[in-house]
């Protein structure tokens, strides 16, 4: 089973078309293994990007160096997955 320990989901807001193009290009960099939960659409429209822990530093550096603002939407994805599993197990035990 794939684990997501330390993976984060970043909420990214591009402010112009150039930044959007840069975000779209991220999707094609297969080595980063990023996954858009919400794709970049237009300036001011937030995109949500899941970033595996090993790629976090590279992605954040890239965003910062291009002046693209972001916040952390989910701090540790595995925690949420674990909570969901725990909640699912309860009713079936009952």
């Amino acid at each position: 089973e794939q684990l997501f320990v330390g993976d984060q989901v970043l909420r990214i807001t591009a402010s112009n078309e150039e930044q959007i193009a840069l975000l779209r290009a991220l999707d094609e960099q297969t080595e980063l293994q990023v996954d858009f939960w919400r794709h970049p659409a237009s300036p001011g429209h937030p995109a949500d990007l899941r970033v595996p822990f090993p790629s976090l530093q590279a992605v954040k550096t890239l965003l910062e160096s291009n002046g693209i603002s972001y916040s952390i939407m989910i701090q540790d994805l595995q925690k949420l997955v674990d909570e969901e599993k725990k909640a699912m197990a309860k009713p079936s035990k009952t």
Binding site: R11, F36, A87
Partner: protein, 309 residues
């Protein structure tokens, strides 16, 4: 077997649990609900559709699907709740009764069963189908970029490793082909509603082109009413508009295809939330989400009933 009264709609379930429960629903409402198999998935799982019908032959009908993107678990959960609601409300809620006295409803709760099973067994974040791609180690096709409507134009990826890979050709995915064949063979589907998450949006065609749909004005008005009904319950705010203008260009989507087939009332929902939990929406939000969505669905169903074409 789980009985209808012990199935917990406020919890997420596996495919086996949902398929078992569907049999119970059919058993509990034999005069209203039946189960059809419209095909098999890439990994040979059955593609089941619940049919809600009070009789007649080849009545006009409403199509609903949930879970075509497997990781969007709130949609399959909403689909199960909705199926139960339709069955329970017939004969109780005048609007549901009126719809079902004239029309049939088809509901495919798990439109991508291989992907859904995979989200439970191996990768909670899996979105696509599980078909193998010739010449690539990457698995799966985005089943909402695989329809024959602007297939392969901008708004989908040609890279098999992408989450929006459109597939080698339109309808390459058996999960998509099964719906296409079913809808075409039926020939009298009047509304086609595909339910996704997340972002809280109600969308209508087109996604592959910025050209407005010929019925845009009517679709926009229906969306406005549907969203108002949805918001009336818990104040959940939804945006609405065409796919292209509201989110981004997306080609090969199901509702663009259905609209181009002449199914005027084609809509896509993007359910809760707007990004606190995303695809990991807590189970405590299943019932509120389903309840509010139901109000919007009823608006669309009633409009379809009252505006024959």
């Amino acid at each position: 077997k789980r009985s209808g009264s012990t199935f917990n709609f406020a919890s997420y379930h596996t495919i086996d649990e949902i398929y078992d429960w569907m049999d119970t629903l059919v058993a509990d409402h034999p005069d209203l609900v039946s189960k059809l198999q419209i095909g098999q998935s890439y990994e040979n799982r059955s593609l089941y559709v619940l049919k809600f019908s009070t009789g007649g032959s080849n009545r006009s009908a409403i199509w609903l699907d949930t879970g075509i993107h497997s990781r969007e678990w709130i949609t399959q959960a909403t689909g199960a709740w909705t199926a139960n609601k339709i069955a329970e409300e017939y004969g109780q809620d005048p609007s549901v009764t009126a719809v079902l006295d004239s029309m049939d409803i088809f509901l495919e709760i798990i439109a991508n069963p291989d992907g859904f099973a995979y989200t439970h067994s191996s990768n909670r974040m899996w979105r696509k189908t599980r078909s193998r791609n010739s010449g690539s180690l990457c698995v799966g096709v985005d089943p909402n970029r695989n329809w024959n409507a602007g297939f392969g134009v901008a708004g989908a990826s040609r890279n098999p490793c992408s989450e929006t890979y459109h597939g080698p050709y339109a309808n390459s995915e058996p999960e998509v082909k099964a719906i296409v064949d079913f809808v075409n063979n039926h020939g009298n589907i009047k509304a086609f509603i595909s339910i996704h998450s997340y972002s809280q949006l109600l969308l209508y065609p087109y996604g592959y082109t910025r050209t407005p749909a010929p019925d845009q004005r009517e679709l926009h008005e229906i969306s406005k009413k549907a969203v108002a009904a949805l918001s009336s319950l818990y104040g959940t705010s939804y945006q609405y508009g065409s796919i292209y203008t509201t989110i981004y260009q997306a080609s090969g989507s199901s509702v663009d295809w259905s609209y181009n087939q002449g199914i005027k009332y084609s809509f896509t929902f993007e359910l809760r939330d707007t990004g606190r939990y995303g695809f990991l929406l807590p189970a405590s939000q299943i019932i509120p989400t389903a309840q509010e969505t139901w109000l919007a669905l009823k608006v669309i169903m009633q409009h379809t009933l009252n505006h024959p074409y």
